[in-house]
């Protein structure tokens, strides 16, 4: 806890220095080539059942452990070269405790800069393009809800999908009044997450190691973005290194399991003056092999995960928005409500699916401030953090109220 406060204090001091510096940087000087931005959020969470943001711990009903601090700096060394880095510190229930991480740090070099065609390449720890929101998923004011649709942007796979060391080729092409934006990344996904291990193999001792993977996204924007169509595809691999002495209590275990996620997301958005309608559909084929645990055959069972959401946001007055969303995920489309899984493993069926109705609102009282509120009615717990919700305490039907204040510069 003391460590968390130290991290928090350090980031506050750092943000203060950054904001003082950036107000100076806004003056008309050569420092316009260097830009600084930052953000901070604090949320309050109440759930009727299940735990979010540490709200079930110590008998507390309202969870406060959902906060983010982040800051980035970019330096345009020349018209063709940009250096960028962002640090993030997050608190999310039992999952993260304010550790500061490098979100991204890369050099971006323009290869082609002609009228209508731009191509660039990035080296370093790059952000992964995936769906509409992955690249900015931690930045509250870039969206109209507190939680992103968890079916596609769920927390357990956040680190795995967020950013990774690699190379990324990206570009844009202007086609009449339409625009094609694309990005292809070769990377080694980040697997240093106990939540990823829990999501993939439940409570097993060991860790995953990322394998060279490919992610790509194309966005086609019609008439300046009135319609936006997107297709993201990825082939992401990871290998499991079990602890040598214990695996399901089976004693010595030598098999190294491997999981490859072949994933695709189709995204569509329609933007009007007062309304934005958004939908994304994802299919992920998990290929699993090599675990060979006699009494846990599901570890080697390949499944297809299906997920989608439909969302409408209404800008009904200046600085005010309302949104409604339906969001669903099934971890095995052949066993949508987990009945077969529960029978084989004895674990709750509810951890295999989730459907979530959300209504919410956002108010921006000032240029840099946003206040959010939203209500969720959820069936299932597929995207709940297992660290917060051990299987024996998972409840199928639950409601959640979230409030959030966010500031950015």
């Amino acid at each position: 806890m003391r460590y968390a406060y130290w991290q928090f204090t350090k980031l506050l001091l750092w943000s203060f220095c950054v904001s003082v510096f950036s107000s100076g940087a806004r003056a008309e000087t050569q420092w316009e080539e260097v830009r600084l931005h930052g953000f901070a959020t604090q949320s309050l969470v109440y759930t009727t059942h299940n735990q979010m943001a540490g709200n079930g711990l110590d008998g507390r009903r309202v969870g406060t452990k959902m906060r983010d601090l982040g800051g980035n700096i970019s330096w345009k060394v020349s018209p063709a070269v940009l250096l960028s880095t962002q640090l993030i510190s997050r608190w999310t229930g039992a999952l993260t405790d304010g550790n500061t991480e490098v979100d991204y740090a890369f050099v971006d070099t323009a290869l082609v800069n002609e009228a209508g065609t731009n191509i660039g390449v990035q080296f370093g720890k790059v952000k992964n393009p995936f769906g509409f929101y992955n690249a900015t998923r931690d930045v509250a004011h870039t969206r109209n809800s507190i939680l992103l649709p968890q079916s596609i942007y769920h927390e357990q796979l956040r680190n795995f999908f967020l950013s990774a060391p690699g190379i990324s080729l990206h570009g844009s092409n202007e086609l009449g009044t339409d625009t094609l934006l694309w990005q292809v990344s070769w990377l080694k996904p980040n697997t240093r997450s106990s939540e990823l291990t829990a999501f993939m193999v439940d409570a097993q001792g060991g860790h995953f190691v990322g394998q060279t993977s490919l992610l790509a996204r194309a966005l086609y924007e019609v008439d300046g973005g009135r319609w936006r169509w997107g297709l993201s595809v990825g082939a992401l691999g990871m290998k499991f290194n079990p602890l040598p002495t214990d695996f399901f209590g089976a004693g010595a275990f030598s098999g190294q399991g491997q999981i490859v996620l072949n994933t695709g997301v189709l995204s569509v958005e329609h933007n009007r003056a007062d309304w934005s309608h958004t939908a994304e559909f994802a299919l992920t084929r998990q290929h699993r092999n090599g675990f060979n645990v006699p009494f846990a055959p599901t570890l080697d069972q390949s499944t297809t995960i299906g997920a989608y959401y439909l969302q409408s946001a209404w800008r009904f007055a200046e600085n005010w928005q309302a949104m409604v969303r339906y969001d669903a995920i099934y971890l095995d489309l052949q066993d949508r409500h987990g009945a077969a899984f529960a029978q084989v493993t004895g674990l709750p069926a509810a951890q295999r699916y989730a459907s979530d109705w959300t209504i919410g609102g956002r108010f921006d009282p000032a240029k840099n401030w946003s206040l959010f509120a939203e209500l969720h009615h959820v069936q299932g717990g597929a995207w709940l953090a297992k660290a917060d919700n051990p299987p024996n305490r998972l409840t199928d039907t639950w409601d959640m109220l979230l409030l959030r204040a966010a500031v950015h510069f």
Binding site: E32, N72, P79, T85, A115, A135, G224, G225, E318
Partner: protein, 143 residues
């Protein structure tokens, strides 16, 4: 006695037409005089203000100036010249800034500051409507 409009219909039609064309009343894209082009396509203009295109055809850097999202002139510029809503530009900028892919335009406080900054910054582009008689600016039409 006949009304003056009926006596001179053509004169008033022409006067009305001239009023609607008066450049002092319409928002236009302005650039520093060293910018070596005279017009932009609609998508070029969108791409420059969305910060996707960051250099002019001669390879020099584009410096983009804008007013605040809720400034009347910014709203008029987005809707009439770019055919976009201000929130769409804002979304593009936020996505660039918080994924490290790019930088956002420099925000100025008033139209007067916009004109002054564009006039004295090499490679600058912005927009304004009160630009009659300012020689230190190039006006870029959208074709």
């Amino acid at each position: 006695m006949k009304h003056v409009f009926l006596k001179r219909p053509l004169l008033f039609l022409v006067l009305g037409w001239l009023l609607t064309l008066n450049p002092a009343w319409a928002v236009e894209i302005i650039a520093h005089p060293n910018v070596a082009i005279g017009h932009l396509s609609l998508n070029q203009a969108r791409s420059i203000f969305a910060m996707r295109q960051v250099v002019w055809p001669d390879g020099s850097e584009i410096k983009v100036f804008v007013l605040a999202d809720q400034h009347d002139l910014h709203i008029e510029f987005c809707k009439k010249l770019l055919g976009l809503y201000p929130y769409q530009l804002r979304t593009s900028w936020e996505n660039l800034v918080f994924s490290g892919m790019g930088q956002i335009p420099i925000e100025v406080a008033s139209e007067e500051e916009m004109i002054a900054r564009v006039a004295r910054t090499a490679g600058a582009v912005g927009y304004a409507e009160k630009i009659g008689g300012i020689d230190a600016l190039r006006v870029l039409a959208i074709h």
